[in-house]
């Protein structure tokens, strides 16, 4: 069966590419903002942060941890203020996104506590806080599924395993030395050198702040992006449901299908084709119909990275086997027990 007036479901590849380029050119809204922060402020702040982290690292005797944390926080505040003022200076009406600053302050502050806290259990708990703040950043970036997966997998599974091992592998202190810290927790190794290396790396990495920058695309662009629409072409039931909800079609009507059983949905024109008594009718989607984050992610995950999933499965299997082999206790069986066991087995086995 052939539908002469049915819409083309997929554009030819060349046209698709041209359209994608056109869309992305329009969507990026090519607003070059210049550098995000002045080099002088950034490098001052990084030097300040290095001093703060160096002071906050654990050591015996004089311990300026609080002062170090304050200096580090001041440095971070300087950078964020610089970034925020630059963004505000380019704004006409909106304030900078306050949630970004809150979440990144919490994340980086608790990361500082992870590397400076002398008690491993507290370090792990602060890392959970850092994970939660990162999940907040993921939400700002409209990656809802990954935000909650992060909380469940990281904060819920991995970190609990860490806490278990910390508690397993920490000796219970004696009654008299209840407050004692083991030496390896109380002192840092090469604090000056490591801080220098780390913050030099940070300075090099953040040089990208001077190369000019572009604003993130608007949220509407994410919801109604090309990916979202293309995903909906493979989800005829969702389109039908949305059309019924919007009372554009009656319940029970289904989208017409071509010879290969593909639903006739045009993701570019945002229409679906229905067969009625008068022939084929194109119905436009309601404007708020868009693929959800988890739908788009699932299509990308399963369609475009099938081999990687296999590799991930193998990695997980290998890790599981490795962990079992590594942590299993060696059971010493003496000769008599072995002989007893083999006799036992041979009796049970009639062959």
């Amino acid at each position: 069966m052939h539908y002469p007036h049915a819409p083309i479901r997929r554009l030819p590849v060349g046209l698709q590419r041209a359209r994608a380029a056109e869309l992305s050119a329009g969507r990026k809204r090519g607003r070059s903002l210049g550098e995000a922060i002045s080099p002088f402020v950034l490098y001052t702040a990084i030097a300040l942060g290095a001093i703060g982290v160096w002071m906050a690292l654990p050591r015996r005797r004089v311990n300026p941890q609080l002062l170090g944390a304050l200096v580090g926080a001041a440095a971070l505040g300087l950078v964020l203020l610089g970034l925020g003022l630059k963004a505000a200076a380019s704004e006409t009406s909106q304030l900078p996104n306050i949630y970004f600053y809150v979440f990144s302050l919490i994340a980086l502050g608790s990361c500082l506590r992870v590397i400076t806290h002398q008690r491993p259990v507290y370090a792990a708990l602060y890392f959970i806080l850092a994970i939660l703040a990162s999940a907040g950043l993921y939400l700002i970036l409209s990656a809802e599924f990954m935000a909650f997966a992060l909380i469940i997998i990281y904060a819920g599974a991995i970190l609990i395993t860490y806490l278990f091992v910390i508690m397993l592998a920490t000796q219970a202190p004696n009654e008299e030395q209840l407050e004692s810290l083991s030496d390896y927790d109380a002192t840092a190794r090469e604090p000056l050198l490591a801080t220098g290396v780390g913050f030099t790396l940070l300075a090099v990495l953040t040089s990208m702040l001077f190369t000019g920058t572009q604003s993130l695309p608007d949220t509407e662009a994410v919801l109604a992006g090309r990916n979202g629409d293309e995903v909906l072409a493979d989800l005829p039931a969702r389109v039908e449901e949305a059309l019924i909800d919007a009372e554009l079609i009656e319940a029970g009507q289904t989208i017409a299908r071509d010879d290969h059983g593909q639903a006739l949905i045009d993701p570019v024109a945002r229409t679906a084709t229905f067969e009625t008594a008068d022939g084929f009718v194109d119905v436009a989607w309601p404007s708020d119909l868009a693929a959800k984050n988890v739908e788009s992610l699932a299509f990308d995950f399963l369609n475009r990275h099938p081999g990687t999933i296999e590799i991930a499965g193998i990695i997980l299997l290998m890790a599981m086997l490795g962990a079992v082999v590594l942590s299993r206790r060696q059971v010493e069986i003496d000769e008599e027990a072995k002989a007893h066991q083999s006799r036992h087995l041979s009796v049970e086995d009639p062959a």
């Binding site: 607003r31 903002l33 995000a36 002045s38 002088f40 982290v53 690292l57 970034l83 003022l85 963004a87 380019s90 704004e91 009406s93 909106q94 980086l108 990361c111 500082l112 992870v114 590397i115 491993p120 890392f127 850092a130 990162s134 700002i140 970036l141 990954m146 997998i153 990281y154 991995i158 395993t161 091992v165 910390i166 592998a169 083991s182 927790d185 840092a188 190794r189 604090p191 490591a194 801080t195 290396v197 780390g198 940070l202 990495l205 953040t206 702040l209 920058t213 572009q214 604003s215 993130l216 608007d218 090309r226 990916n227 992610l297 299509f299 990308d300 990275h305 990695i315 490795g322 590594l326």
Partner: protein
């Protein structure tokens, strides 16, 4: 010097940009990611507790995850998010193996000090 001064004043003076825009840029998130990565690196180098060292590698994974998600948002495709799933997979596998190793090492020396294993120099 004059250039630096003008940079500083430029920070606090409203410089007019032609049109309004969304508030956050990719660079904001890349900065947070880079700072988190650097702190994980410092922690890995300075801490002597084996468990905290592995916790710091997890922190570096997390920093990579933020950069991937920000890229996914910036270029409006979901590949970055898919790869965060794989990063999580590798992080979970690494945690399982590392913690098994830590338990093994702890049984041998009754200590979590990385310096106890100094003789393993390559």
């Amino acid at each position: 010097m004059i250039h630096m001064l003008s940079d500083i004043t430029g920070l606090f003076v409203q410089t007019g940009y032609p049109e309004p825009m969304s508030t956050l840029t990719l660079n904001h998130f890349l900065f947070v990611s880079a700072a988190m990565f650097a702190m994980g690196l410092i922690g890995f180098l300075t801490r002597r507790n084996l468990i905290i060292m592995f916790l710091c590698t997890e922190m570096m994974f997390q920093a990579a995850g933020i950069a991937l998600i920000a890229g996914s948002r910036f270029w409006l495709n979901h590949t970055g998010q898919s790869f965060v799933i794989f990063v999580l997979t590798v992080a979970a596998a690494e945690a399982a193996l590392a913690l098994a190793l830590v338990v093994l090492l702890f049984r041998k020396r009754e200590s979590l000090d990385a310096e106890q294993w100094n003789e393993m120099k390559g």
